[in-house]
Symmetry: none
Subunit: 199 residues, 4 copies
């Protein structure tokens, strides 16, 4: 059996790492996803291809890392602390906070999710590092609403988040219609109200 030698993270060169992430992000944003290549990243970062392959399994993983680290430089929302007694407003605010972080890089996000469709490893990383965390504040606010009796106690907060976010990702990935702040508000309203008229 081929013992795939695992490199020693302690000896990883932080300068190279930084250069690679910056190059990956720059390429992905400036030239578009289809122009991103391991070779291109290595050239722009002044780095050997080997170094990229040593630490990342695919270009998708590199760009994901680059994207996540860029997001983490931004000041992060803390929606729990800002929970008011207005459920709708709080949810809208959470979505808007996220929106402000990603609205200038929607194509990149969409490309990452697209790439993940034929890269299960990337799909897992994407879910764990980007998508699941971003939905957590919504779920937290839902749970608070349950405590307050605004939402049925037997409802599943995860499903609630899916109800809200499903519409958003559908627009991002599939529907050729605008995805903007007004739409986010509408998603919250429709999700809270549901389709059926009150009896």
């Amino acid at each position: 059996m081929q013992a795939t030698r695992t490199p020693d993270p302690a000896r990883r060169n932080p300068d190279s790492t930084k250069a690679i992430l910056e190059a990956a992000l720059a390429l992905a944003r400036d030239e578009g996803w289809s122009k991103v290549s391991i070779e291109g990243i290595a050239a722009r970062a002044g780095v050997g291809k080997r170094t990229i392959y040593r630490w990342w399994p695919s270009k998708g993983a590199v760009v994901l890392d680059a994207y996540v680290s860029r997001l983490q430089e931004a000041p992060y929302m803390s929606p729990e602390a800002a929970a008011t007694d207005d459920l709708r407003a709080d949810l809208v605010r959470v979505l808007n906070d996220t929106w402000n972080m990603v609205s200038d890089s929607l194509p990149l996000l969409a490309a990452l999710i697209g790439e993940a469709q034929h890269d299960p490893d990337l799909a897992a990383r994407l879910w764990e590092r980007l998508i699941a965390p971003s939905s957590e504040p919504v779920q937290a606010r839902i749970r608070l609403a349950q405590d307050r009796g605004e939402i049925a106690p037997d409802a599943d907060p995860f499903r609630a988040a899916e109800l809200i976010y499903g519409q958003i990702y559908l627009r991002l990935l599939v529907t050729p219609k605008a995805l903007d702040e007004g739409f986010l508000e509408d998603c919250v309203d429709l999700s809270l109200r549901g389709l059926r008229v009150r009896p």
Copy 2:
């Protein structure tokens, strides 16, 4: 100026077309999306690459055509005709009908949507030929429900369909959780009821 010569559809060889679509579908389903290539399709179909490029702009378009033509061989649902006075049951039935058609090819559908993220032309074709039509019966049933006063007359049927389908596509493309018939039912229920408790 380069006069892109348009080929004459009348002279198109139906045998080649069939062989190409079959080869594309076989490759995409048997080997996985990443193994699909124009060269591979041409080789398997016993066809010149030129013939593929003459009629399709990209491998995504070929596979989409192949997929659509496979779906159309199946007997199609006619949910309008089958509308009962049970909104929930009708919606579930529509979703289940679609489910029965695509459940054995979800990865292929996901791969197509993934590919569309960096191929706007494919995205448009996908929307028009596959995704929009499949949501139409849901919208139709919603409109009927509006006529019957079960759903608010000012609601947007398109948005209603997004509310339902968003959850489904989210699972298909992003969430690492099961997408099955039970889930489809739950999507209908949650969408009809909404999150907020009845006052």
Copy 3:
């Protein structure tokens, strides 16, 4: 079994072939053998690497072809026709003719033979296309001398050529001493006379 598809020589692009051979020769002579690479040849020739791999098995084979075709542009010696009744003079003339063709590219010739040491296919090509032909005129003159009784009738002309050329290739490949026209004459003399004094 893997049927290594054989390309069709009729469809070979002569412009590409020419460009490749010229680039290979230029690189080998200007930059030295160690700087020759398939990639470099392709780049300099403005040609895809695939095109080189399609027609040659190794860079050695390319350079050999390039070298041979350069030699063939030169007017070739016809030592048979020029056979006089002076065996020594004729042999010297044959060696000098060859010398005039290759003296400005001895390092390249040496590099080719060097490369052939770990490339049996190249060794065979080299022998057939370059080395064996170049020794043929010597063998022919030896045979003529046998007919004239100057050389023992049971002597092997091939071995005779080895006796003469062995000294030359030894200098070319191994001995750190001058290889020049005076040396060629000495090789002929020593070979004709032999070591042992006449009784």
Copy 4:
């Protein structure tokens, strides 16, 4: 200016040296020259690449050292002492002694000479450590024969050795014909006799 730090031979680790030479020889003989690499030697010897680069300039130099040290483990010929009054027999015996030492490693020897064609430093080492010494006994016996009047006193023993060895190296490096003990005898005979018939 870059002061190439010279390592201190006194501190050289003899275990490492031994392991490197053994690994180099094993690789070169078992896997063939093309599989020899500094990395491979280091890995097989359990040694850092640095240690090899510290003491040798190239992989050719390592393998040459390994080869020479293997030869020196064998009992060496002393042909001078064994000089009889039969010149031919003595020369054949010298060649056969050498033959017995190297006949099982001819490809390795050929590969070393091949490598030397684009490595002048290796060429020099090879000449000094392996090739020149091995021809010395022949030259010595030639000189003795000159003293005894069997060979012309103005003949150059070095050239005489070239006459004999040239044929052998030509077969080793260039000619696709057998190189065996019978051939060695023939080389001696042909060299002593020369081509021209006695008048």
